[in-house]
Amino acid sequence: VRWLAVVGALTVLGSVAVASLVLGARRDATATAARHREATEEIAALRSELSALRAQVGRQRATSWVRSSLPTLVAAPATPAPPATDEERLAADRTRAADTVSRVASRFHAERRDPAWSGVGASALEQDLKQAGLGGSLRGVDCATTMCQVALELGTDSPEHLAERLTELPAFQTQVLYQHQADSRPPRLTLFVARAGHELPLAPVGRP
């Protein structure tokens, strides 16, 4: 009887142990499944958040690019600058013209004389000026390779009318750039006259 009781007790204990093992395993499996579910949900939430952040960054980049590309379209100045007066505009334009003259003069001084043309070109200009009655105004003619420099001292002729008179002369029917020295007394005028078939270097290098 005692042995039977011991065996019975052992059996009961074994059953309880097996049952607890089985139940534990089931709890573990349930917990693992729950963690997996949570992880899956968390990943989905993170993906969604990442997607939203990407979209937001994209929008910000596009906005900043458009702003930086088109400053005048997006950001108008709060207070427009006052319009320039005629004197200011004229002064600005004289400065621009002086830059052009400076560029052409530099090229002229850097050029060598063309022995086959420089003398002939200078004579043609002189001759035309004399025939037009402007020989008395001539202070000098010098020709390089692609252009000539003509110095005139103006008398009663205003530069406005002089331009029309000059363009009727064959030697001046190319390209002529005017440099006014209005402050000199009497007023002086320097002309850069392109050789036929050539153009004056009006634009900076690399610009049209």
Partner: protein, 167 residues
């Protein structure tokens, strides 16, 4: 990748459509030109252009050039001017000079073009590439000397003017 390229295309399209016009073209009929004071009776206005009908002497035309100052602020663009003309005279040529003046009338630049020798019924063109020598209040005019007519059907004249600018 596909989304990114689609987005880029959208932004580029937005920028291109919103960008200011990069080119300006102005066209005008030859009748815009005016005869010189002494040549008023020599020219005939017609729908095809302004022609010298005088059989005794050549005549001069003055053609003012109009441009949009906002697109020519000075030094930021390239400009081409074109005069379309007909030279039916075998004895003399059509000659046109571009004058660029400061707005106080001081000349800055003149450039003269002459038609090829010989007569032609076709419409030809003079072209001036003046770069950025425009804007800032400068005044532009083209003066053309048109040969005399040798008969009622051999008249020379100006058909029109075109100005192209790239900003």
């Amino acid at each position: 990748m596909k989304k990114r390229s689609l987005f880029s295309s959208l932004v580029v399209a937005l920028v291109v459509s919103a960008a200011p016009a990069g080119a300006d073209t102005w066209e005008v009929h030859g009748n815009r030109c005016q005869p010189d004071t002494g040549d008023v009776g020599k020219f005939d206005l017609s729908n095809t252009g302004l022609f010298n009908v005088n059989s005794s002497s050549s005549g001069k035309l003055h053609c003012p050039i109009e441009y949009i100052s906002d697109l020519h602020t000075g030094g930021l663009n390239s400009t081409t001017l074109m005069v379309r003309y007909v030279d039916r005279s075998s004895a003399s040529d059509v000659t046109c000079t571009l004058y660029i003046n400061l707005f106080d009338g001081s000349p800055i630049l003149t450039q003269t073009k002459t038609s090829p020798a010989g007569a032609s019924d076709t419409t030809q063109a003079f072209e001036w590439s003046i770069g950025s020598e425009i804007g800032g209040g400068r005044q532009l005019e083209i003066q053309c000397t048109i040969p005399k007519a040798t008969s009622s059907s051999t008249r020379s004249g100006v058909r029109g003017i075109r100005l192209d600018t790239n900003t």
